[in-house]
Symmetry: D2
Subunit: 401 residues, 4 copies
């Protein structure tokens, strides 16, 4: 694979797949096992209990699908809705766009609420739609918590507030792919009915688990939902949960052991500390962008994402050139601008198992690249601004003696 090797480590700053901690890599370095032995159900049982914690739910029921986020989306939709059902969905970037595309192709009646890319979901429009929907024709609200393409975090508490205000029974389906386990996500408190994420994001695992968590209301809805599904059906899982064997078909035992190790690390650090770390690294990144005199694609502070920052380049620069040089010269992997913002933004993913000096190394690289492509940034300026903040904000590592 000589088209891959470069000296030193790859600096992985795409907003997923993210860096896998060494203990997790170790946990997955193993042979296959018989998933019907007593060991795998015992492992699964604990995982299902523990994974609820990252959703902050006690009443939800999690499913560990051997799939990706795209599959998790499909599972959320097909288990709760019937063809023709009206749903309100927010289009604010490439990933919400793709989910909406899926919703349409699955024959739902999608009421798209579009925002300019860089802005959050327009919740005023949601409020007006909910207010006027006396017949409860809206069956579900579909929203990404964090739009990975633009670095925009939506206010889910506000969504819940709107639904509650009008006592509207619509299900709340949330894509938490680039938020859960990194941003503060409160499934129970916010009344989220289906939340989902992918293993390769903040959980810092390889790709391959689509984790879906369903509220009791969602489970109830599943009983009457008429969308066809087999692989993604919750019912098959629930049947095997009751049997205590847990798996309707073969799971990836590698990812189960990996998830065990990943959760152990998250709990050792403390989920709240993990969230604080993401806030810290997100803010440091934004301070660097500011120091460089560049604009954040995210238009308002209220939407700033602590997992990914989409940086706008001046019009005379092609942002894909920034990404390309990162890869070819500095072994740095940045996120491309996608679709509407292709060429206009590059993205720094700062989620998952990551620390301050890794981020500063990345920012130092971005500075050099910006100069390489003709943007007159002062070298050290972003790193200095980020460092000035981080120096005060970073706690001692608690486990270190």
């Amino acid at each position: 694979m000589d088209y891959v090797y470069g000296p030193g480590r790859n600096h992985l700053f795409v907003p997923g797949p993210v860096n896998i901690p060494d203990p997790v890599i170790r946990a997955m370095t193993r042979n296959n096992e018989d998933y019907r032995s007593p060991a795998i159900p015992a492992l699964t049982k604990d995982l299902l209990e523990d994974v609820k914690k990252i959703f902050k739910t006690t009443t939800g029921t999690p499913f560990l699908f051997p799939t990706t986020g795209t599959g998790a989306w499909e599972s959320a939709l097909t288990n709760t809705l019937s063809p023709g059902d009206r749903i309100v969905s927010f289009l604010i970037g490439q990933f919400s766009l793709l989910w909406i595309d899926q919703q349409k192709r699955l024959n739902f009646n999608v009421d798209v609420v579009e925002s300019e890319w860089g802005r959050g979901a327009d919740l005023d429009i949601l409020a007006s739609k909910i207010a006027s929907d006396r017949t409860h024709s809206i069956k579900a609200i579909c929203i990404v918590h964090n739009e990975t393409a633009t670095g925009v975090t939506n206010n889910l508490a506000h969504v819940r507030q709107i639904l509650d205000e009008y006592r509207h029974p619509a299900l709340l389906l949330v894509d938490g792919v680039s938020s859960i386990c990194a941003l503060d996500f409160r499934m129970d408190e916010w009344g989220v009915d289906v939340a989902l994420t992918g293993s390769q994001k903040a959980l810092s695992l390889p790709t391959g688990l689509g984790i879906v968590c369903a509220s009791p209301k969602a489970l109830e809805a599943a009983k009457s939902a008429r969308s066809l599904r087999v692989f993604f059906d919750w019912g098959d899982y629930l049947k095997f949960y009751k049997l205590g064997t847990y798996w309707p078909y073969t799971p990836s035992i590698h990812l189960l052991y990996g998830l065990r190790a990943a959760l152990d690390l998250i709990f050792e650090e403390g989920l709240e500390n993990v969230i604080e770390r993401h806030k810290r690294l997100g803010k440091a990144t934004r301070l660097a962008v500011e120091a460089w005199g560049l604009k954040n694609c995210t238009q308002k502070e209220e939407w700033y994402s602590d997992t990914v920052t989409a940086v706008m380049v001046p019009p005379y620069i092609d942002s894909s050139e920034v990404v390309k040089r990162g890869w070819k010269r500095y072994n740095l992997s940045l996120g491309l601008g996608l679709n509407k913002v292709a060429g206009k933004v590059f993205r720094i993913g700062h989620l998952g198992n990551l620390n301050e000096l890794q981020l500063l190394g990345c920012l130092a690289g971005v500075e050099m690249i910006l100069r390489d492509v003709g943007y007159p940034v002062e070298l050290g300026s972003g790193v200095g601004a980020a460092g000035a903040y981080l120096r005060n904000a970073t706690p001692m590592i608690p486990s270190r003696i």
Copy 2:
């Protein structure tokens, strides 16, 4: 995980997931990567080309879905068929049963041809159905090449012969989960339209790739198939194949590197040698079963499977006790009897990356267990019978100096 550890290696003889070769484990011991870098498309391009070889196709188009065999089934069906389509499907054991269950739930009109468990697909009935189907109401034939629950291999060449005889245009959809890369499988020669397997079977990888290969006729059918699908849609993949980026959503780069290593090993050994090795180990297992005076669940030699042997125990023995003792006493993982044959058979999987002495160790274990549970087998008899055959049949390892 103290409920797992036992001294020495686990002897993994379930018919999947199977043993992963060390070079494959090594290849997957790695961090995540940006799948949008130039490296992953370059890797994917070669994989798609090479994976065709294990299907023995030059005209097929492979898809590497991040899913399991169950998902691969769904992909095969939903891309080629429309709700209400009539399909002929053979019920000969637990896995064909599950596929049929899926076919029904996906709203196809399933014409089930059932055989006694332990017998192959009833191709005489197929012939009569095909013969009488002048209107070509049958849109597809669904058949497992190798039924993992009973150790029965169906004769696909014969299926093709029947279709050809009547010039019937039905698609031929084949579950090759426990056959491809182990048994002789000839996609092009047998006119298979969709063939599929899972990574954790004869490819000897972790679970997580559902590999689906579509003939040109199947790709054509996909254009008009009206079953809803998004995650499992071939069209999305084909779009990205054309772009040269290959992935409509995040792949597991671990499994891609693993697949690269797995294919390299298979090609180093030689696919035909791999198939010969499976024949050898399959026959050795059957000779042991015979020496023990036990019956093979497979009723006729023409259906004998070279990847799994379902061994019938006398009525006074519970086969699940055999499996349990294997696990608890000898660190041996055998396959349970499923559904109709639960308690009546245990299964020895002899597929994937396995050699003679591993199998003989397993057979020695089975002998001891049989005595433990009260069956008066002569210790050494099965190993001796298998060894007598293997000693003559086993070639020198070609790569060894």
Copy 3:
């Protein structure tokens, strides 16, 4: 490395290096670390305490040298003796021969007591030498606990008894390379002054740690021993033990983490259970040899080794041909006959992390090879004899639910 690959697992039955358990491989799959951070001393402190348990000593002081058994020998000798010192040393096979060669080259006055290969140390001669050594000119007795070349275990309790009977102050230096952590070894009870082993033997680690344990009397002797030594000097270690930093030069942190994992597994199984398992596998091997009608190189039952069996072949067979065919045909690694017994014996190592079915697989392989090279063994006979014993002797795996 295509001269290595063979399908399936390598069956490793040389008497070291032995099979490494997967959890140990995992523990060592890691980057380097700063060994001067607080983490490594904390790890080392626990290891030094725990490693004493495998020597069954509470008063001994262990040293973890980054070396092999040969280096550990040198450390034992040079720290306790001065050039010209008279030592009594037993020559009973290739490894005692090599140790004696080292003793001579280090300028000790070696009084060699030779036995026929296949017999144990002649302790009657020892008794007479000790009895007549009124001036205490003998400074040390050097003895291998288990001679790996011939499968002979010496009676150390008897050696101690002789020394005690005559109140002789000679140091007792013991090579426990193929015994410690497999055979019953009692440093304190037997008054062993220096005991040593290598990581790649019963501890089931990679090669690279020479573990030396010194009694208080040995430490005292080290103060006046005039043999030159720096790398192997205990004094440098003791200095750093006191400082709490432990390492006079860079340790292999991989082997430290590996040792941690290895000890954890041994303690989980229980050291006494580990020893029982070795007795069981040793006896099973000897029963197979007997069933084949072959002779054990070890001439008397009192010397039978539970870690390695040297099997004599008939004069018309070259034992190296047995080993060669194992490698080339069955992916089986057996031990060669060395020096005086080259061509006459092959060796089955049954030590370290190993279980019953692994051994039976090996024995099945040996049977086939014996037939291949022209010895008329009945296939299955050895496996049957071993299995008949093992079936009754093997306990349930305690950790298994």
Copy 4:
């Protein structure tokens, strides 16, 4: 091991053990093997040939001792010298001090030439000693190429020049532990008689191989050298080299496979490119130190080391506090000041498999720590200065498409 875990990667910047590239970690993730099979000699043969390239020798004979640098020192001395032999040895820092301590304890007559720590070997004194040694009483010159404690590189070409000028036959023994494979090292051109390094340094492997390379003159000297040695004896190795089995005692096959992978990476990058990379990172580090207004412990540019920089802190700061905070707050591992410079310097190791952004991340961390401990550095200043240089100096990664 909860005293170790911190989120994100450890930033390992001690001057050894250094970061192990992932492909090397992978290559070592394996079971033990029989080192007497044909595979290991075949592997060894190639390694011995290839390892010569990193010494830049065609006439030298390499030995791969299972030991550390301290053991490699001992091997170099005891194979070439006899007790009482006069040697000239340069004391310029902690590691030359330790080697001299070893030389004395091995009973050589050591003529120590001391320099202030931070200065190179005093070659004028060497010249005068050589000039006056008409009787050739000096048997060897012992010198470290790069003193790891102070970041001083000695001029070996000049040493050779002095010896040649006076046609002095003294052997030239060089500690290349922190130079070989990182700095330009020319065994043949400089007439080095014994050169040595350790696997955990620029080769970027775990600790455990002491690699010693002997010139024909050194091999000749070994024939008459009367220092006692067995484990470290070259003669035993040479005997097995001739037999084609290569190993007088058990090697670590893990480190052999690791060395294979490490050399492959070095050759893929190109040894000269590796050396250039070290020059680049060394210079960048020094530019940062300068920008911070701190002094390099190395007093003159001619001695600047491209593998380690010892940074002097102002008198009011304890350098060990810098190291401690790196570990506890930023997951950064820096080198302590040792012995005479304890508390006065901290060290940045920039050797082995490392790239620009890793270094810049480290430098960003050092800046923050300096502020933490009360030194008024401008954040970003060092990173900016280093980046300004690196941006121009760093080539595209050649293997990247």
